[in-house]
Symmetry: D2
Subunit: 448 residues, 4 copies
């Protein structure tokens, strides 16, 4: 067992911190210290309080001392790993991301990644992430940083923009769901036992939440064409009903992959993220609530998000009652590999500055790709080539990524606006687009 | 006087052929033979008939024998120059470009350059232009070809795709109007005599009809910032009224440059084409008739186009009654320079395959830039750099240009569809987008 | 155990075929059929004859039936894997590569990769490799091809130039030796047990035989700077004596890594190939026999090569007398991974067309990089960035690679000559350079 | 007549300052003030003294008041134009450039542009040029700067590296001589009156002194192929004798264009600079004095340079005795065009940071190309494409340019050495190369 110190920024979270503790409790390869840090210090203390319960559950093997620190610097001291998973501002700030654009006719399913909502969230997240980066490089420059915070590309980008020497990865589980969907389809189609998601080897390319699988290999055989041939478009009426049923059940996150499949049908590559994310990168699926529902997708409401955030203890309690089980996230697997606690190479997807893994994206842009993780070493794998029409859609997003990141880092409002103005969801009158931007700017209390 | 043979493909045109004859009649540097060729042979004959009247008008100095040939090959024989200015198909074919998309909620001001209408027109023009290219290279491979036909980028691109060794330029007067507008503004602002448009030296970059001026120099002084400072946004109500008044007067082509100026206000570069063209490249101005009118721009109706095409003799007669005057086009100036009939270097804008003049566009893409014309020599001048947000808009169009051109040249329907699907005006439901494409495809009687 | 059919082109070889059989005999994961094919049919038969002895040695676990076929097509039938390891022409052809350039003052240590000798060898190898590629794609298009033949970049490039859809890897052990040298240094420097070469994780970039390590990681720690700090330049006199001693012992292949280290001292990256290979890519070490000896390197003489080739049975006999031991090559490890006979990911170096793994090389050029091998899947890993001075040296070689490959594939003598003329070893008078080229051309009996 | 103020840095020069005065005296379009500045103040005063004689010669029409200033800042005040033509250090410093490399077996024909000599000269020129740039931007930021100083690429590059907003052009007459040579050949070949050099329109690409003509057009007709067909290689013996005869006559600068033609014969493009310059960029022509003489080229000796520099008054006196005649330089033509004193567009060659005019060179590198000059406006023309073998030679030089410029600007000795080490003329032992570098470094009294 390797002994490590892990610092968790956002350690007061009602969900992610508990899940990480569960995964650590299940790890046979790591032990040591976990330090929770959160601007909501009380929440971090609560998580520390219940940590013993998690590490004491039946099946727990990992041994971790859990502490809380009041300052970021104290929390980072001697850290081997830093996990960042925060919400930028209280949940009520999401009003800016979601409700203000709605007034101008722009509806977003998630609003945390791209579009006017994602950009608003980026404007307030980037400086925070830049501060984290400076603190990390001052206190524990050799630590590996795993970021889970959205908007993924902007948050990871801010870490590198502030401190180019930082060793940071952005991790996201969306691609896992695509593997799971394909695993299920394989079991049904080829009449075999359900493969695990790891048995499906994808080639992906793109930016986080707008990734595409250019190939899917199972047992050495490419199955993407078979999958494409077997797809059924789905009746808009049926899909709409499914969406409305889910809305009634507050089941916001289920995806029928009809948007992902629509990309495959029209352009030849399978969307490799949930439909609610994919839909936000193009002006096609979100023109109206009816349209997005007709793909089986619901809009996660602002009101539900606020409601949930107001009952953190309830979520914690519910989690404690469950049996110890793996979260499905790969964070601890990465920590094991980076710590040299395993000899196995880990091949997984992550977000990092492009150093060539995506030959069609600018060097330095934050892209998602597969890569290889081993002791203190991360090596991106060369991406497959996207069809040029899909790459053109990616290019737009990459350009917006750059403009908003540079704009916020340099306090250049015109540059941020330029990125905002060319966002595909922003297909409204230029006059309205300017008014929306100014309303967001004011709500964010920006002073430049 | 240099003796040259000029072949005019589309020589039955009721307007452009007469204007070229007028410019030739006014040229002190060229004489020779002009051969008209048109699939509407009768129309060409009519133009020949009235040619003597044009060359006989007071003020005419050029001496040209005007002939008509029945076959393209005969017309091209011994040509030094080939001018191409055709309408692809009878005007009624524009129903496909304009009225079918309208059914799906897509309204285009012109519909001959980009968007679903421009793509429909490209699909039927590209094979024709490719045929012209083959005939030219077979019969008169050393001739310079001046193309005036829209969609400019696709038609010029088809010439080069079919025959990479062809010597062709695509010429367009839109940039001239921007110079004229600035000349007027200079006279008013600096209280000087009105400069000629040639006194305003622009730097431009982009694709035809979506070009931008990155600088405007008058008497060695950059005036773009002064112009930007003096712009007034204009009241939407007033602009809408102007547009409706013009509609009532069938005055479709006047531009108040409010779209051009909106780009300058928001992104820092001045649109250098008429507003009715600029508006078609982005999803912002054409969301409704009200929106486009609020920028002072009218939609040229299909019905008016058909009506005009049905009275060609009327147009000819009207033209004959006018005094001989320069058309404002630069075709004959280019012919003089290319023929070596003048020692002066000519600096003008044209469309050619990118060989580096636009460092931000792919090599081989048809881009518009300034260049230098001299005897048998055309040299593009390096373009200014567009702001990256505007370049991102150009990039989308360049990608569509490539997909549709390659798709038509290789009879690859999926590739054409991919270009169609990512067109910014095509911001409709993917299901509707597919249906629209299929309806256009059927109306065009495509068989692949 | 996975059942596979392996076809060995060049199966009459006195060394490589035997080594592959030994590795197969030691494999616990593969069994099946090995088919030997060679234009020297008798040699292949001899190897078949002794195969039973190899598979019967103590310690052998793999079960392979060994056959010989008289035609390439018969040999390739149903192949899952094709191994190519040939000598292009009888060894006497090496006179052209080695002795003709010597007359013009150009001395090469190996002469099989680059320089006039490597180019001569490329001119005669490329058409042969292209023929292999066509046969493979006609008979067993799904087979993976492992090429061991030099010149590596040109031979692998010819396979892809002839058949872009081929699935081929070029494999070379030079990088292994760099790992072994570092392992030894680590044991000495850090006073630890000798690591295996697999414990040293290199980052490499470049072309085969001119690769450089931009980093070397052992137990998660970068050791390259320590290594650089500990290097001693070495006295030219001592190194010369070493070289001459080795010449006397016909020990041609030993490398003291002084050239490799010289690159590290001067440019910051460690040469990751034997010195006798590295020296041939620049005009610095081979100006005279004295110069190259002063780096501890000998020139492998043509005469010795011929002598060895004339006693194949002796080599075979010697091999049979040895105990069964792994060859040190990775071919069988790759076959196991590609066959899906193991669950472990294999990370190794190989040569493939650049698809982005080397962001500084042209797409399609044959570059060496690390990559990941799994069932029917090969994924290149993004290379480290070379210092720009070293990349400039690589660029020259990449340009020559392209000119000679394209030139031979298209029978364009001028293009081949252009590549030859700019080779760094060809720093002789242009008049002599032309004469040398023509003498080689004639000796190769080229007819275009 | 336009009234301008011209500042001449290096105004004490015994040749260039007088020639500029002569050209100004002959200009019908400019008048005003010429201010001479030189660190050798006495020399500048001498030139002022004789200025009246030049402006008073028969045929003089331009009216210029000539002044001398003691400080650079005073000289630059109100300047519209700045001409820079200096020798970096006393001529004796050329010992470092020429005689030290000779000790290591490296012989250079000129040694002011590239190779060890050019790099030594760059190391001492770049800081001086950077100082000029800072002074210009502080005092007269709108002035156009014409640099004549060698090494051209490094000196012009230093101006832009120090002050990216500077408006500077590097001008060189080498290409003019290629035009003149072709003019003479045209007269002889086509039996016509001798054209002027302006009648020969070249397409060029490359870096200064290593430019190549990809085409040569006369009267609208490409003549390069005819020229290539008519070339005769020349007997080495005869050429050697010519070279030795010229040495005896101290006629160092005459070129027979045999190196220029050798490039055309071998690679398809004509060297467009004097042979003594072209030869220094490749390792082929300067391997020995015999070799370079065999191309009809002499080595300009250090001793002659020193001798000449010691008799400046003699040179001045000789110049004063001559009739007033144009210098053949284009400086004043550029000043007229930039000042708006003429309506004609000027097409000429110059050196500027690449902004796309050379699609094969990095953006920002100093490249030579044609361009268009008009009032306060300079527009590069897109270069022709060099054959890839020649581009590979250019690439090496461009890489060295970058390493040495960045190295000197950032006082990074290792970076400068990296550029030095990969220079093609530096094809000596790495040990000798390091020793040579250190000897130069010490002689230059560098302190980092």
């Amino acid at each position: 067992m390797k002994n490590v110190k892990i610092t968790y920024i956002g350690g007061g979270s009602q969900q992610w911190a508990l899940r990480l503790m569960a995964d650590l409790a299940l790890s046979e390869k790591l032990s040591g210290r976990l330090v929770l840090y959160d601007i909501d210090h009380a929440a971090a203390l609560k998580n520390k309080e219940i940590s013993a319960q998690i590490f004491g559950k039946p099946g727990a093997v990992g041994k971790f001392a859990v502490d809380v620190e009041e300052t970021l610097e104290a929390a980072l001291k001697d850290a081997d790993f830093v996990v960042i998973s925060i919400e930028p501002g209280p949940t009520e700030k999401r009003f800016i991301d979601l409700k203000i654009p709605e007034k101008y006719g722009i509806c977003q399913t998630v609003g945390d990644t791209t579009g006017p909502g994602g950009i608003a969230r980026a404007i307030r997240s980037i400086p925070t992430m830049a501060d984290f980066a400076h603190a990390i490089m001052a206190v524990c420059p050799d630590a590996w940083v795993i970021n889970y915070t959205n908007p993924m590309a902007w948050c990871t980008g801010a870490l590198y923009a502030a401190e180019p020497g930082i060793k940071a990865l952005g991790c996201c589980h969306e691609v896992f769901h695509t593997q799971e969907m394909l695993a299920k389809w394989i079991a049904e189609t080829y009449k075999v036992d359900m493969p695990t998601r790891h048995d499906i080897k994808l080639d992906i390319s793109g930016v986080n939440h707008f990734t595409f699988a250019t190939d899917a290999v199972w047992k050495g055989k490419s199955v993407l064409q078979d999958f494409a041939d077997s797809m059924k478009a789905g009746e808009p009426e049926v899909l709409s009903k499914n969406a409305l049923d889910r809305e009634a059940n507050e089941d916001w996150f289920t995806s029928e992959f009809k948007v992902a499949e629509d990309f495959l049908a029209r352009f030849g590559v399978l969307g490799a993220a949930g439909d609610r994310h994919l839909a936000e990168f193009v002006p096609w699926y979100l023109s109206s609530k009816q349209e997005i529902n007709s793909w089986g997708v619901c809009v996660t409401p602002y009101e539900w998000r606020v409601k949930r955030s107001q009952n953190p203890d309830e979520a914690r309690q519910k989690y404690l009652e469950e049996d110890l089980s793996p979260s499905g996230e790969e964070g601890v697997v990465l920590l094991e590999a980076l710590a040299g606690a395993t000899d196995e190479l880990v091949r997984t997807n992550f977000n990092m500055p492009n150093m060539g893994q995506n030959p069609d994206a600018p060097v330095g842009a934050i892209v998602e790709s597969y890569g290889l993780i081993s002791e203190n070493k991360v090596e991106p794998i060369t991406c497959g080539i996207l069809p040029s029409a899909v790459q053109a859609l990616e290019d737009r997003n990459l350009e917006i990524q750059q403009l908003v990141l540079d704009g916020v880092m340099n306090k250049d409002k015109d540059m941020i606006f330029a990125g905002f103005a060319i966002d595909p969801l922003n297909a409204i009158s230029p006059r309205a687009s300017r008014a929306l931007f100014e309303e967001i700017w004011q709500a964010l209390e920006m002073d430049y």
